[in-house]
């Protein structure tokens, strides 16, 4: 599976990728482009990556989640390119016979993505300026 995409992320497609009759719980996380960041009005975000390494890191994160939660099914996509406010930048779907692993794994996966996957974003503001954005450290 390719985790980096340059087309809109479909929540339905992510859920379909992990759903089957053996699962009793499905959890979906979507990260979206928000209109205001640090008080500045955002018009869009460019996402770029060190693509081969980002693919490898995403795959490593997925495999690590499967090892921690036996029986877990996972689908992860991160979008690259220019996104508008409201569009989905990252989608994570998990499925398991029981709910706890699906909830725990989503949190672990998004936190790991923010820490270790070489993806960068440059925000465009409505005043015409642009700025590279540093990630906010993962809260404890």
């Amino acid at each position: 599976m390719t985790h980096l995409v340059r087309r809109p992320i479909s929540a339905d497609a992510l859920l379909s990728a992990v759903a089957d009759d053996a699962q009793g719980a499905l959890t979906l996380f979507l990260g979206t482009v928000r209109e205001f960041n640090d008080g500045r009005q955002v018009s869009g975000i460019d996402y770029s990556a060190y693509e081969p390494m980002a693919e490898r890191e995403l795959q490593r994160i997925v495999e690590s989640a499967r090892q921690r939660h036996p029986g877990l099914r996972v689908a992860v996509e991160h979008r690259l390119g220019t996104l508008r406010v409201g569009e989905t930048s990252v989608g994570i779907a998990t499925a398991h016979a029981h709910r706890a692993p699906t909830l725990d794994a989503v949190r672990e996966i998004i936190d790991a993505i923010k820490l270790d996957v070489p993806i960068w974003k440059r925000e465009h503001y409505v005043d015409g300026s642009r700025e590279w954005v540093a990630a906010v450290p993962v809260p404890p």
């Binding site: 990260g31 996402y47 770029s48 990556a49 060190y50 081969p52 390494m53 980002a54 490898r56 991160h78 930048s89 990252v90 998004i110 993505i113 923010k114 820490l115 270790d116 996957v117 070489p118 993806i119 960068w120 974003k121 440059r122 700025e131 590279w132 954005v133 540093a134 990630a135």
Partner: protein, 80 residues
């Protein structure tokens, strides 16, 4: 020995290039090469540590580089 250096995001913008080759004397560590490149390129606009990846995996600063390595300088990431 020759290694390739990859720059990304604000680092690539400051350096006005994304990839270049550099000639090094062995042994040179990942941390030494990073510090050398950053002293030339500058770290304007970067908040946080610049990590090093060799051949698409993160390495410690003490990692010793080899001929032909692809050395990526990874400014703070912002995926998600």
């Amino acid at each position: 020995m020759t290694v390739a250096v990859l720059l990304f995001a604000s680092l690539a913008e400051s350096a006005e290039r994304e990839r270049f080759l550099v000639e090094l004397e062995a042994p040179t560590t990942a941390g030494e090469l990073r510090d050398r490149v950053l002293s030339e390129v500058g770290t304007r606009g970067i908040r946080g540590a610049v990590r090093v990846a060799v051949n698409e995996s993160f390495v410690d600063d003490s990692f010793v580089l080899s001929e032909g390595d692809e050395v990526a300088l990874i400014p703070p990431v912002a995926g998600g």
